[in-house]
């Protein structure tokens, strides 16, 4: 009568691959996944029916990945999408690349044909591991059932740690159907992957000393601050050092937009004050930002007088585009904690003295902002898109979760909504994916059913994933879609107006559906505003209803996004309103 001391040696303790996958998801605390079934994943779907994991059936696989991405951005947890092989997987690629460019943690499970058929051009077979190699943090094809469980655990670890990102696991049908042990979970240690969270103390000291010496410092923060939940530490440092803060599109919400030290966004459509402050600064402290071309403009004119400190967890981001004087490879939160701690302990730091020293600089920045604030021209009754965003901001108390599509709608939302909290702006910053906003809004709404979630859209981009209205209805995700409708692909039209002699090649949307009728067809509420007076009542009504709403705002057709730095110009060469 001896107890079996190693249960996994007994056939009784083996489970199917489908069961193992679901147990792994539960182990990671995943309660919601987004997907679309197919032949290669039918076993897993069968098992899902008996689990308590909520599966959100989307209408297109791109929507599944964007919804998982929206869920991840809003919660900070890993988003999970489940797609079938072949076209299911390829439809997900845009979603995966979107998450990759913005460093969003996702685990994407794709079905694959049985192992014996791989490489045979089998039905719905595609080499998705090959296709997604350059747009995932890492990916796997599970060939050995014994490695399924460890692969899924490793994938979750990789997706969420270090610089986060999407990880894809390709699952051959026969692997998922086979029996396998389910070993106990142990802490994951990888020989080849050890992200460096803690900053080097010597670099922190150098950075703090440079900060204390500076007369015209600027904090330039990006999505890394939000990903590492470092907004409090960042705010503490900015206030302690009386230093203005400018944000990238991905960094909005990382510092309160209504804080007097906030300069708003910088770069191509950044505020005048932001771009001037960076250009005249003597110290630029980049935190979790990567000197993207939309931020820097012409490189040799970017922060030409500044010493540059760069905090980033990814060494490849450092000195990639702009040479950095004091690199700090670390998690933003850890690095900011260390800087705050160093300053607090330092005899050289005196908050009052710093505030006095920086006052002329803050005055200068204020002067720039007063001279050219973010603004737009009123035109009587005509609805200005910026006004729509201002009313949204007012009526939601700046506290809604805003998703955007891509183009003018995205820039107006970024400029005129005042994001005071992180994870409230969900937008495709890096890849610039039209069609992102609606499914991302659904993902966020399912994560936070009580939150107001608004997709700020254009009439062009909303049509790229409009089928997800049905998903929103089916799963009880009553998001609000605000279409800034100008019957144009507005951002490209703006470029054509400014740089291509107003030759509007392929940017006129001659046929656009009646969005109010379309809303009704999906069982949603459709509202329309044609004049400025109608904007506020429409938004009020939309916010008051429990249902899914589409608001169609007929905006001034040829409105542009300003300021604008023409591509390849210095960021001080802004076209203003």
């Amino acid at each position: 009568m001896s107890e079996p001391n190693n249960r996994k040696d007994y056939p009784m303790s083996k489970i199917t691959g489908s069961q193992a996958i679901i147990k792994c998801l539960q182990e990671e605390g995943i309660d919601t996944i987004f997907g679309f079934p197919g032949g290669a994943v039918i076993d897993l779907y069968d098992e899902l029916m008996d689990s308590d994991i909520r599966h959100i059936l989307v209408r297109h696989e791109q929507g599944a990945v964007h919804a998982a991405d929206g869920y991840a951005r809003a919660t900070g947890k890993v988003g999970v999408a489940l797609l079938t092989s072949g076209p299911g997987a390829t439809n997900g690629v845009t979603g995966i690349a979107t998450a990759y460019l913005d460093s969003i943690p996702l685990v994407v499970l794709t079905g694959q044909v049985p192992r014996a058929l791989i490489g045979n051009d089998a039905f719905q077979e595609v080499d998705i591991v090959g296709i997604t190699r350059p747009c995932t943090k890492h990916n796997y094809l599970v060939k050995d059932p014994a490695e399924l469980v460890s692969t899924i655990r490793e994938a979750f670890y990789l997706a969420a740690s270090g610089r986060p990102g999407p990880v894809l696991i390709d699952l051959p049908k026969d692997v998922v159907a086979s029996m396998m042990p389910f070993p106990e979970k142990k802490p994951i240690k990888m020989q080849t992957y050890q992200p460096n969270l803690e900053p080097h103390p010597g670099q922190i000291e150098k950075a703090c000393k440079a900060f204390l010496k500076a007369k015209r410092p600027v904090l330039y923060i990006g999505g890394g601050v939000i990903l590492s939940n470092a907004n409090k530490e960042l705010t503490e440092l900015a206030e302690k050092m009386a230093t203005p803060v400018t944000m990238t599109l991905m960094g909005l919400g990382g510092f309160p937009g209504t804080n007097p030290l906030s300069l708003g966004m910088l770069g191509m459509h950044g505020s005048y004050a932001s771009n001037m402050a960076v250009a005249k600064s003597d110290l630029l402290i980049a935190v979790g930002a990567r000197f993207d071309d939309r931020v820097t403009g012409r490189l040799d004119a970017f922060a030409p007088h500044a010493e540059i400190i760069h905090i980033d967890i990814d060494p490849t981001s450092i000195s990639k585009n702009v040479e950095v004087d004091i690199p700090i490879v670390a998690d933003c939160k850890h690095a900011l904690l260390a800087m705050n701690g160093w300053l607090d302990d330092s005899k050289a730091f005196d908050a009052g003295a710093v505030a006095d020293k920086h006052q002329p600089w803050l005055d200068q920045v204020k002067e720039w902002d007063d001279k050219h604030p973010l603004t737009y021209r009123e035109e009587g009754d005509i609805i200005k898109p910026q006004y729509v965003i201002e009313v949204l901001n007012k009526l939601t108390g700046g506290d809604a979760i805003i998703t955007t599509e891509v183009g003018q709608n995205q820039m107006w939302a970024a400029q005129f909504y005042k994001f005071n909290h992180p994870r409230r702006l969900l937008t495709s910053g890096g890849l610039g994916t039209m069609g992102y906003g609606l499914p991302a809004a659904i993902g966020a709404k399912l994560a936070f059913p009580d939150a107001t979630v608004i997709d700020v859209a254009g009439d062009g981009s909303i049509q790229m994933n409009i089928q997800e209205l049905a998903t929103a209805r089916q799963w009880g995700a009553p998001v609000k879609v605000a279409i800034l409708n100008n019957n144009y692909l507005g951002m490209v039209r703006q470029w054509q107006e400014l740089f291509y002699n107003k030759r509007y090649s392929a940017t006129v949307m001659e046929i656009t559906p009646d969005f109010v009728e379309l809303a009704r067809a999906y069982g949603a509420v459709g509202l329309r505003a044609k004049t400025k007076d109608e904007v506020e009542p429409v938004i009020k009504e939309a916010l008051a209803t429990d249902n899914l709403v589409i608001m169609d705002f007929a905006i001034s057709r040829e409105e542009g996004v300003f300021p604008m730095v023409p591509a390849g110009k210095a960021t001080t060469e802004m076209l203003l309103v």
């Binding site: 990789l158 080849t192 060494p315 000195s319 990639k320 040479e323």
Partner: protein, 160 residues
């Protein structure tokens, strides 16, 4: 400037294409690439010759290191190193040139590895400069085919 990188990576399917895909995707160039198993069969060593200024090579090194399958990246050209490449050359060898070909091969300490009535196939090993020299000398005689392995390299042991 030319840089020779030594990359240890996990010997897994797809690991090599992650490396080559990185180079093509980011517009870095590969002059030569050599890869084989190390003493540990789970690990491969890849020797890669690339060109670029210091900033580019630094970026290449960091990007390689970021790949999950990559264990270690060393820029061998930063220190003292030995490099070798092997080449197989099929060179015309007719009655009037056979003796001369053999003499040249001998000077370069090469070996004849295949013989036909009209040609020799020869094997030569050495650093890139030597390979280039032998090709330059044999070219006027008539090279029919040439197969190069690409460079492999190893840092020299510390002097002390």
């Amino acid at each position: 400037m030319k840089h020779t990188l030594s990359v240890l990576l996990q010997n897994k399917p797809g690991a090599l294409s992650r490396v080559t895909g990185l180079f093509s995707g980011r517009g870095f160039n590969i002059e030569s690439l050599c890869v084989a198993e190390t003493l540990d069969p789970k690990v491969s060593c890849l020797t890669l010759v690339t060109r670029g200024d210091n900033a580019i090579v630094e970026q290449i090194t960091k990007q390689l290191h970021k790949l999950i399958d990559v264990i270690k990246v060393t820029d061998i050209t930063e220190g003292e190193f030995v490099e070798r490449e092997m080449v197989l050359i099929r060179v015309k060898a007719e009655a009037n040139t056979r003796a001369e070909v053999l003499r040249v091969i001998d000077i370069f300490r090469g070996k004849v590895v295949d013989v036909s009535p009209t040609s020799y196939a020869v094997e030569i090993t050495g650093p890139e400069s030597k390979i280039k020299a032998v090709i330059d000398i044999l070219r006027p005689i008539g090279i029919k085919e040439i197969i190069r392995t690409g460079t492999i390299a190893m840092p020299r042991a510390p002097k002390k």
